[in-house]
Symmetry: C2
Subunit: 458 residues, 2 copies
């Protein structure tokens, strides 16, 4: 399985497209060093030690394309475990394209999406779940998604799956031993012990499957709605949250990410605000949308921040809104806004009626920190800091769910005293699905599907 399917040498731009101080072109394959050497004027790259850097010129015939630094990695001491060369040139898209074209003319082939990482996987650098984490890591844009991807890339999740699998393999081999002695009717694998093992495995797998609801929002953000009557201050709150975030992220040119108008990072987690366009729009024209339409919109959210206009709303109105919110069954924060404009007495009364209410002034930026910490508590998102394994990949969930089904069948089989060969089949099925996660079991289609989602150059 883990042999290198292609013996050719691949090339691609490894750095983002665009203009920068430098750009890096990566070559990998048996001929990587010799192809680079053909266009390099400087030291003989073939004679250099691994992990060394050499200054010289890239020559297209007699024309100097650029002065570059070339890093040489000799197999197997590289990312792909093949010979690898990284050419660091001036960061002009024109020059980078010229150099890539030149390397292709000398025998390299343009890499397909994810092909470097695929080769690293095929050559045993890491398993499939770790390879997938490389892509997650590159796309990570919050503390939580970064930590989850890093943990997975460093093998935390794979270890977990492998230890589950090893326990099962032990029993599978015992049962298959029985099959060899079928006529003698012995039981090498104790059925009670097997049953206990499977139940404990199922518990662990259930925990992993459950972790996906957290893993999914870590990776994709928490769908959040800010709701409330017209003029309750929804747009003001959204702006306050966004401006606070902008102030926190230090402004390093060239690295600052673009702020997406409706995505806000709070305590390391991304919250995706739904229908912010609607909120902003409502500011400019008269907010004619009825409260019913607001409630319809809230059903798409994982979390609701519901704003009460403390200036305008009566206690009865507020009570009525809270009942409707409870009926929705979606976690929500009940937030009284405009504290700066009402009497302390009124606030005390509210807190007696609604012990959970959060009192803020969005306009004056008061108690926003309290709102934020309640928001992260509400969705139990601080869990990502515990170091527990969190599944973030939908493919892994599919495999885990299939594993769970096969384990159900095994338990059912034990219960019905089926013969060893049936039990063995069910256990093999579980092993198969667990093995899909780390890539011990794989197909060319599956690999193609996974790596084609990577960017070129990775």
């Amino acid at each position: 399985m883990h042999h290198n399917e292609k013996e050719d040498t691949i090339v691609a731009l490894a750095t983002p497209p665009g203009i920068g101080a430098i750009g890096v072109i990566r070559l990998s394959g048996p001929q990587a060093i010799s192809i680079a050497n053909l266009v390099f004027k400087g030291k003989d790259l073939l004679a250099q030690a691994s992990h060394t850097i050499h200054f010289g010129k890239v020559m297209d015939g007699k024309v100097v394309l650029d002065e570059v630094l070339v890093a040489v990695f000799v197999a197997p001491r590289s990312f792909t475990k093949e010979n690898v060369v990284e050419i660091s040139s001036h960061g002009s898209p024109y020059i980078l394209q010229k150099i890539i074209n030149l390397l292709i003319s000398q025998g390299a082939r343009l890499a397909k999406a994810g092909e470097f990482t695929k080769r690293a996987f095929m050559n045993g650098q890491f398993d499939l779940a770790q390879a997938e984490a490389v892509a997650d890591l590159i796309n990570a844009d919050s503390e939580a998604s970064h930590m989850a991807a890093m943990n997975q890339m460093r093998g935390g999740f794979s270890e977990k799956i492998k230890s589950l699998r090893e326990e099962l393999i032990h029993f599978a081999s015992m049962i298959e031993l029985e099959l060899d002695f079928a006529e003698e009717d012995v039981e090498f694998a104790d059925r009670d012990q097997l049953r206990a093992l499977i139940i404990s495995l199922q518990k662990e797998i259930s925990l992993l499957i459950e972790s996906f609801s957290l893993g999914n929002v870590i990776k994709n953000g928490v769908p959040t709605v800010i709701a409330g009557k017209p003029n309750a201050g929804k747009s003001t709150l959204l702006n306050t949250l966004l401006n606070e975030e902008k102030a926190i992220v230090s402004d390093i040119p060239g690295t600052t990410r673009d702020f997406i108008e409706d995505e806000i990072h709070i305590n390391g987690i991304s919250f995706r605000f739904i229908d912010t366009a609607g909120i902003r729009e409502a500011r400019d024209k008269i907010e004619a949308l009825g409260i019913e339409r607001t409630f319809a919109k809230m059903k798409a959210a994982s979390v609701i921040i519901y704003l009460i206009d403390l200036l305008e709303e009566t206690l009865e109105e507020i009570l009525n809104e809270k009942e409707k919110l409870d009926a929705l069954g979606i976690p929500y924060l009940f937030v009284g806004n405009k504290t700066d404009k009402v009497e302390a007495e009124q606030l005390e009364k509210l807190e007696i009626h609604f012990p959970d209410i959060i009192l803020i002034s969005a306009a004056k930026d008061q108690h926003i920190d309290h709102l934020k910490s309640r928001l992260t508590q509400l969705v139990h998102l601080d869990k990502f800091r515990t170091g527990d394994t969190i599944v973030t990949n939908i493919r892994h969930i599919e495999s885990l769910t299939n594993t769970q089904k096969a384990l159900d069948d095994t338990i059912e089989g034990i219960h019905r005293h089926v013969t060893g060969d049936f039990l063995a089949m069910d256990i093999r099925q579980s092993l198969h699905h667990l093995g899909e996660i780390t890539g011990e079991i794989t197909t060319e289609d599956l690999l193609g599907n996974i790596f084609s989602k990577f960017c070129i150059g990775k």
Copy 2:
């Protein structure tokens, strides 16, 4: 002058912003290696040889920020001639920003625009004209601009300026020697020889100043107008040229430049088509613009491609248009379009009347190559391949023009038999302006002005 004004260690992202397989962070300064070592878990970077690469982790306390490759360059064997470290991490803007923040917290300072290149200049890695070429090289987007920048970066232009300067210095020192012996009334510097030298210098400087008209279009593109009567096929020709170019540039993901609708590369040179919006617009509605307005627009061009509608226009009309074009005094190509729709006889007649006419069919893509080669001949742009020094920088032209003025004064002085001290003053003035180009003469203001136009990280 060439001492390092700042002893601190600077850091910046060196690769373009955005998501890629890898991103590179560059540190430079006395503490570059020791600061990197503080956050690096792996080998002791302080104990490593120059030009070596080391795998390890970047740690923010106990948190692994990323697994990285670190390249170590020990002073003076680096771009800046200082200690330099390049950290190659996964290409996630989130991670890159975290690592830069971490390095800043450990004592590095965020680099200003162009500060790495400025340090390289200050430490004598190259002169000022070469430093400026680094920025031009990164922005080069055509063969011609790439070659001009590369020639300048590799010192071609600087050599030229330095040799002019050395000849003058010789005479300046002779004249200053005279001043020491002023009472003895000797002439160490032969006035006729000095005059001959200055005239030959002036010729060379004139050639350099003249080269700027070429250098400017190489750098910024040739302003070009496609003109002609309504329906002559202007829009069709523009599309044909643009599509041909798209077909030539191989489609390498991540490196292909964005095609600017009105910029077309022909034989390595960029032509900027003026008022292409007007041309495209005209296609959709009735072209109501009079021929007079077309001529007004043409005055902004360096080159005109004038299209004749062979189907509609009479010989008299064509003659009339040609006369108007000649009167404009701007180089133009006289092009008959729609050859596919007229008789061979008619074409022959045209060629007799207008020997210079280019006959094409824009719609059928016929003889477009001929049009292109005539276009580049017209503006003598093939000169850039001769290897002659071409000035592309407006700052250099200012200095050369000032040098020329000071040399005029010197000649005038010799003619009027002024005393040696006046001559010496004029020659010093010439030397000053020539020295500004290569940075032998410089001020902090001038440097700040030059390097602030660079990108951060360069």
